[in-house]
Symmetry: C2
């Protein structure tokens, strides 16, 4: 008898989780959604095996239910689920960006029920949306945080991870509160800061219109995440309110400290401030997307000519040498090419090829 | 008689300005510095015509003196210069990141002297340092702000710009205070925020070590400038103290507003906050480095195979089609390739080539 997997919300994330489950043959993946058209596409692409718009009737037959919907919506579905008769040992999970609120709800709603709730947060995304953009490798090497409630036996978590092992994600088990504390620090607060910086610049540019033009690369990098989805971020802020407020309080303290250093012309303290930041940033696993080990970067000085990047990459083709990332540094004209490699060995091979076949300067970093 | 150009500090910036002057044949460019070795390299590379470590004797013979040194050091040289006999109509400039302090000093030091001071700030750089890394196109298309003192006739500014026209920079004349107000907003404040975010994360990670690993792409982008040179940024903060403190005060107000919105669960206001930031960011000339018009971006979904980028770029070679930038989006495995073009025409040609010769999906942005 095939396990029935119900995916609620078959978008980019739900579609990818569906693909993960379907790596095993003993499952029947049923998509639940509002837009029939999207569900039809998902089925035609074999992302799901069947679909329905009737959550409650599918829920009663399910072995696994995954909510790949915004947290507030998942909470509504879960309240409904708590009123339904469900199969013994039903495993419920979600894919929301905050975990404490939903885990607390699960604890209440499913108390004294034979339901196991494993909060989930796959930490990867894309600029694209919809089931059609889902892919089996979207979460590859990325952190996939699991926050099971206390009543969930270890073996249920292990089976869940095994069922999704085809995603090749890096599963990490965390306390829900710990998850929300950490994401507030490294994700939620930065989003607030980026949007605030843009808005302060907006106000400022009313008096100084040139600010709109003079903002350059550093500003662009810093505010990139300010272009994220407003609805999603508002939901996250609402769902992680008190923890985010703590981070903001700490931030205000930090800001006051910096202000005082500048006010008091504390040269040495400011030097230490910048040096410490630079040093700590280096120690972070920050060059990675998801959990790929830190990259090995090679900078190649190339002339500004059409085809020059093509030629450099061409050097690597006969050797089957893969780059992890590529970037042109600075302006159009001064082209330093930043090539990132998976390991030092690849970087060394690239260096040797560039050394032997071009007269370009290169730098390691 | 050749004009004598004295460049004080022949590093990346000074070397590039020297190259700019040397585009004309009627100049003799003399480098002044402390490290003989660096000056010798600059001369052997023909970046300068001669060099000396004796500032005062060269200063008395100079037609142009450019300080490509940190602001505080430039101020010391200028104080010395004020005590020396100089040629009639001597033009003095600098390349510092702040302008008000040095312009005010010039006004005082050179009052009643036949010296013209034109503050300068070429807004481009590189991760590399030293004269050897200088290049004639380093400032190409970048803003080069000029802040002449009030006594400088227009034609002196025009001649200065003509002498440096080989740099192909975008010269903009600004009031020194206005320059410092704008750079405090779009550059100095962002640097402080980036460093502060890293340091708060450092403190935080003592209780939550996983924060060091869980920070991902958004955090990385936001804190990239926190890896800049500590000394340079401390100097900038010290030189633009009061204006930066104003930006920080405005920032604290902004932070308090956001905090209140979250505290009061103001969903609509938070939605507006994120939406407004997203919308304003779009209106900024922010996709440019320096002053190249906004880029035109094409996203191509490519499989994760060695040589695939090489193949895509190869499509453009027969057409002499240039890309402005290239980037791999997301993880190693999900490879969307972001290609930036100079104009919509180039983007359209690229689309047509990809459409005709591959089965890759692509998206415009």
């Amino acid at each position: 008898m095939k396990k029935r997997i119900v995916i609620v919300g078959v978008g980019l994330i739900g579609g990818t989780i569906a693909r993960g489950f379907k790596q095993n043959n003993d499952v029947l993946v049923i998509g639940i959604g509002r837009r029939i058209e999207n569900l039809q596409i998902a089925k035609s692409l074999n992302i799901i095996d069947a679909f329905s718009t009737d959550f409650s009737s599918e829920a009663t037959k399910a072995d696994y239910i995954i909510f790949a919907t915004p947290v507030k919506q998942s909470l509504k579905y879960m309240a409904e689920l708590a009123t339904l008769p469900t199969k013994a040992g039903l495993v419920v999970s979600d894919a929301g960006s905050t975990k404490q609120e939903i885990v607390m709800a699960a604890n209440q709603l499913f108390a004294n029920r034979d339901i196991y709730f494993i909060g989930g947060h796959p930490m990867a995304g894309s600029h694209k949306t919809g089931a059609i953009a889902s892919r089996i490798d979207l979460f590859e090497n990325a952190f996939y945080i699991l926050t099971p409630t206390e009543n969930v036996p270890d073996e249920v978590v292990e089976t869940f991870k095994e069922r999704l092992s085809g995603l090749k994600a890096r599963f990490i088990q965390l306390d829900a509160k710990q998850h929300d504390e950490i994401t507030a620090m490294v994700s939620h607060l930065p989003h607030i800061l980026a949007a605030s910086l843009v808005l302060q610049t907006k106000d400022f540019s009313e008096a100084f219109p040139l600010a709109k033009s003079m903002a350059a690369g550093g500003f662009r990098d810093m505010t990139r995440i300010a272009s994220s989805d407003a609805r999603m971020w508002t939901d996250i802020l609402m769902s992680n309110q008190s923890i985010i407020l703590s981070r903001l309080d700490e931030w205000q303290v930090e800001m006051t400290k910096v202000k005082q250093m500048i006010q008091r012309s504390e040269f040495d303290e400011l030097m230490a401030f910048f040096n410490e930041a630079k040093a700590f940033r280096k120690t972070m696993d920050i060059h990675q997307t998801g959990a790929i080990p830190a990259f090995y970067d090679l900078f190649v000085d190339v002339p500004d000519e059409p085809g020059v990047i093509h030629n450099v990459l061409g050097l690597f083709v006969p050797d089957d040498l893969s780059i992890i990332n590529i970037k042109i540094i600075e302006t159009e004209a001064t082209g330093a090419l930043q090539l990132s490699f998976k390991n030092y060995e690849d970087l060394s091979r690239a260096k040797a090829l560039i050394e032997a076949q071009t007269d370009y300067d290169y730098y390691e970093m």
